[in-house]
């Protein structure tokens, strides 16, 4: 019962998220340096909000997303690289936080899907293509001569 209650609570939360959601809520949250701010936004758009799970931390108005946006900007100002910040996020929240999963043993099939699927499609469609044998080859000298003789006879 309490479990389902938590679920309901989280659904209501998401509804609230959906209704009042917007990126960076106040302008003073943004970094004064536009290059760093752009970096922060592009990084934030690759991180999943852990409360409103179908939004990025950049889009979500959940308090935790706001905290994480703040952390991203703080760390960028301290001179950390986006890769380091992503590693920090993985250490704290696991692979769940990345909207683009890293290439690993678990995600190998996911990342190979385009290749596998194209190969399968190619193998299935291969017999359909017209083979070179179907296109008439040019006549050999011997055949040309024979044809010439036949026409002559007529």
């Amino acid at each position: 019962m309490t479990h389902s209650f938590r679920l309901i609570a989280s659904f209501t939360l998401c509804l609230i998220c959906a209704s009042t959601s917007y990126a960076v809520e106040t302008p003073d949250e943004m970094l004064p340096n536009p290059i760093l701010e752009a970096k922060a936004q592009s990084l934030g758009q690759q991180l999943r909000c852990l409360v409103c799970q179908n939004e990025t931390i950049e889009d979500s108005s959940a308090p935790l997303a706001r905290d994480l946006r703040h952390i991203v900007r703080q760390q960028l100002q301290q001179g950390h690289s986006p890769a380091e910040i992503k590693r920090w996020m993985t250490q704290h929240y696991g692979e769940f936080i990345h909207l683009k999963p890293s290439f690993s043993g678990v995600t190998i099939f996911l990342w190979l899907t385009p290749l596998l699927s194209l190969t399968l499609a190619y193998l299935l469609a291969r017999p359909l293509w017209r083979r070179p044998a179907h296109i008439a080859e040019p006549l050999s000298e011997k055949e040309k001569l024979r044809l010439h003789n036949l026409i002559k006879k007529n």
């Binding site: 659904f11 998401c14 509804l15 609230i16 959906a18 209704s19 009042t20 959601s21 917007y22 990126a23 960076v24 809520e25 106040t26 302008p27 003073d28 943004m30 758009q45 690759q46 999943r48 409103c52 799970q53 179908n54 939004e55 990025t56 889009d59 696991g94 692979e95 769940f96 936080i97 990345h98 909207l99 683009k100 999963p101 678990v106 995600t107 099939f109 996911l110 899907t113 385009p114 699927s117 194209l118 499609a121 190619y122 469609a125 017999p127 359909l128 293509w129 017209r130 083979r131 179907h134």
Partner: protein, 683 residues
């Protein structure tokens, strides 16, 4: 109580929920008969199918009347539901949970399909309407030798009856919209204000008509497997149904995307949410089916592929619509989840999809199509085949991406996410070659074209596209957007030039232009639509955005325009209170040339205790002006607002392209022009 409400309360004497419930049960029984009687009839006279109408079982005569009465019963159920909704009958659970007296009346009706029970009823009703439409087509006779054969039509009606009966049973047992509530509440709980939008009111009927419409191609596929025979004629009869379902699905998806752009206020139009993917996946297989059916009709090849695609499209739209509601997928579009319903849905899915695929495995060897070695790369059908491969790969990628997280959690206990950055990285490299091949394929003839001629035909479009390379990369700051825009331009120019070439070859005059097969116009139109949508997507990638705290009189410069917050005023709506900002956009500060005035609002709905942001948008051809009022602060009687302003270049092209694509479908469905036939008669 308003007099209109009173009128509907009186009307409910005739159209009471109990009548509706009865109508639903009646519809279920009729659907079952619609499935069983013709099936029995077809089985009884299976031995001598070659003989004429004399050998037909009388049971077959029941098919059409049963279809019509089944649809009528469902329409009666809807009348009862609508009467209850307009009469504010909160003794119905559905209405108490989704409606309120203060809601405007169009949303009282639209709110009926904004929830699980009502949308399921809509789903089965649309299916019954599609079946009725199929039944109204006059079958083959001496006067109409080219129409659909009676046996095929009856079989299709029976097959659709099975699907209807299954879902009506589901509706009656687990999701009955006519359940009463005790004690009766005085006021309903109201609908989520976000859903009170004309776009979203129309979105489910359109989308569902598309989804459900693919049941007809499925019936064609099953019928072909049962008979063990399929040919070009079979594809010819199936094609209009595929095209109409596809067009409606296209419109439905476009409308849904527009809604999320215009109402949610996130400034985005596609979020790769499971619900959105659930609509996109059948759209992709449907597109593949649409093109394959044309190949089958022309060349009698790819029969099995068409059958498989027809099964896949309907199964995917079915699983997409319903698995979203079972709570398995983690989506923002939260329906009230109920695992008991999920089990029923899964059983139905297993019956329909599993049954079809089992039939496919067992009977497909009976259907022979001379496909082997029939395709040349430099031909219309060759390029269609390549694009089929790309479309199916796209579909596989999106399907895997959507289903990967729950399956990894189930199998390995790992929680991970697959979102927009993944889909962007995988789908764009597949979509670009797709666009390139559309541009080539549309100019190619059937069977074979020598590479030299192909090259000659493509040169003008290629030159125009390359000539626009510099402006494209200059206009679109991101190289990927610029490149995609070039591909879109390539599709458009190639389609237009090809049509122009064909028209040029004819003697001039409207009459001769109309003699050109309408499929050419349709293809040109639909592909231009694709190009326009892609251009819109590229434009949206270069969106400009500013978030700013402003007081009355603040000037903000964005995208070369001057946006000025004039004032903040309170407003009253029918069921909400609002704070409205007035933003005037001018081409320059203090210029007399006012581009537009935007009125974004913060709306507070007391019934739901919910706050929504009402976005203000001015759609313009080359870019939308988009304003969101985030919040309002009161600092010592000095009001200040947090505004988010966007300039979205080419945004409206995304949905315009969708409408043009659907128009392409409509053109190919246009009834034959009579004089075309008359002209042929003297010959």
């Amino acid at each position: 109580m308003a007099s209109s409400t009173l009128f509907f309360t009186h009307l409910s004497i005739f159209f009471s929920p109990e009548v509706g419930h009865f109508a639903l049960a009646l519809a279920c029984a009729l659907a079952l008969l619609q499935a069983l009687l013709p099936s029995l009839g077809l089985w009884l006279c299976r031995t001598d199918p070659a003989h004429g109408p004399s050998s037909q079982s009388p049971l077959l005569q029941f098919a059409k009347p049963l279809t019509y009465s089944h649809a009528l019963a469902l329409l009666l159920a809807w009348s009862c539901l609508i009467t209850a909704a307009l009469g504010d009958d909160f003794s119905l659970r559905l209405i108490a949970e989704t409606s309120a007296t203060s809601k405007p009346w169009p949303y009282k009706i639209a709110g009926l399909w904004g929830n699980h029970e009502g949308s399921l009823l809509l789903w089965v009703t649309l299916l019954s309407l599609w079946s009725s439409l199929l039944a109204t087509v006059p079958h083959q006779s001496l006067h109409r030798p080219t129409n659909i054969p009676a046996r095929l039509q009856t079989r299709l009606i029976a097959l659709l009856g099975y699907i209807s009966a299954g879902f009506l049973l589901f509706c009656l047992t687990t999701s009955n919209p006519f359940l009463r509530l005790w004690p009766v509440p005085l006021e309903g709980m109201g609908m989520n204000p976000l859903l009170q939008d004309p776009g979203l009111a129309l979105h489910p009927p359109l989308l569902y008509s598309g989804y459900v419409g693919f049941a007809v191609p499925l019936a064609f596929a099953i019928s072909a497997l049962l008979e063990g025979r399929a040919d070009a004629l079979w594809a010819h009869f199936m094609r209009p149904w595929v095209i109409s379902a596809w067009s409606l699905l296209t419109l439905g998806i476009a409308l849904g995307s527009w809604w999320s752009y215009a109402v949610l206020g996130w400034g985005g139009y596609w979020f790769w949410d499971p619900v959105e993917n659930a609509a996109l996946i059948p759209w992709l297989t449907g597109t593949a089916l649409l093109h394959s059916v044309i190949v089958t009709e022309k060349r009698s090849t790819l029969l099995l592929w068409c059958i498989l695609l027809a099964i896949a499209t309907f199964s995917l739209s079915l699983s997409g619509t319903f698995l979203v509601r079972s709570g398995i997928l983690n989506s923002v579009h939260a329906f009230a989840n109920d695992p008991a319903r999920g089990v029923f849905i899964l059983t139905l899915l297993a019956l329909f999809t599993g049954g079809s695929l089992l039939l496919f495995a067992a009977r497909s060897h009976k259907i022979t199509s001379p496909s082997f070695g029939a395709f040349h790369l430099f031909s219309r059908e060759g390029t269609i085949l390549v694009n089929n491969m790309l479309l199916c790969t796209l579909c596989a990628v999106i399907l895997t991406g959507t289903m990967y997280p729950p399956f990894m959690q189930l199998l390995f206990g790992r929680t991970l996410s697959v979102g927009k950055p993944f889909f962007d990285a995988t789908t764009i490299p597949l979509a670009l070659p797709l666009l390139a091949i559309i541009g080539i394929g549309i100019t190619l003839p059937w069977r074979y074209a020598p590479p030299a001629r192909t090259w000659r035909r493509l040169t003008p479009a290629l030159l125009i596209t390359l000539g626009n390379a510099v402006p494209a990369f200059w206009l679109f700051p991101s190289p990927l957007a610029g490149l995609s825009a070039l591909f879109a331009l390539w599709v458009i120019t190639s389609s237009v030039i090809d049509l122009a070439r064909r028209l040029h070859a004819l003697p001039s005059g409207l009459r001769s232009y109309l003699r050109l097969p309408r499929s050419l116009y349709a293809a040109c139109c639909a592909h231009i639509g694709v190009g326009i949508t892609i251009l819109g997507i590229c434009g949206m990638a270069t969106t400009q955005e500013r978030i700013i705290e402003a007081t009355a009189g603040t000037h903000i410069s964005l995208a070369g325009q001057d946006w000025c917050l004039d004032r903040l005023t309170p407003q009253h709506g029918p069921n909400f209170e609002a704070i409205e900002a007035r933003i005037t956009v001018r081409s320059a500060p203090r210029s007399a040339n006012i581009i537009t005035i935007l009125h974004p609002q913060i709306r507070i709905f007391p019934a739901q205790n919910q706050r929504t942001l009402h976005v203000a948008i001015t759609h313009r051809l080359f870019g939308d002006l988009y304003a969101v009022l985030g919040s309002v602060k009161n600092d010592h009687n000095q009001y200040s607002a947090i505004l988010r302003l966007h300039y979205n270049p080419l945004a409206s092209w995304i949905w315009l392209g969708g409408i043009i694509m659907a128009c392409g479908g409509a053109i190919s469905l246009r009834p034959r022009i009579p004089f075309r036939i008359r002209r042929k008669q003297p010959v």
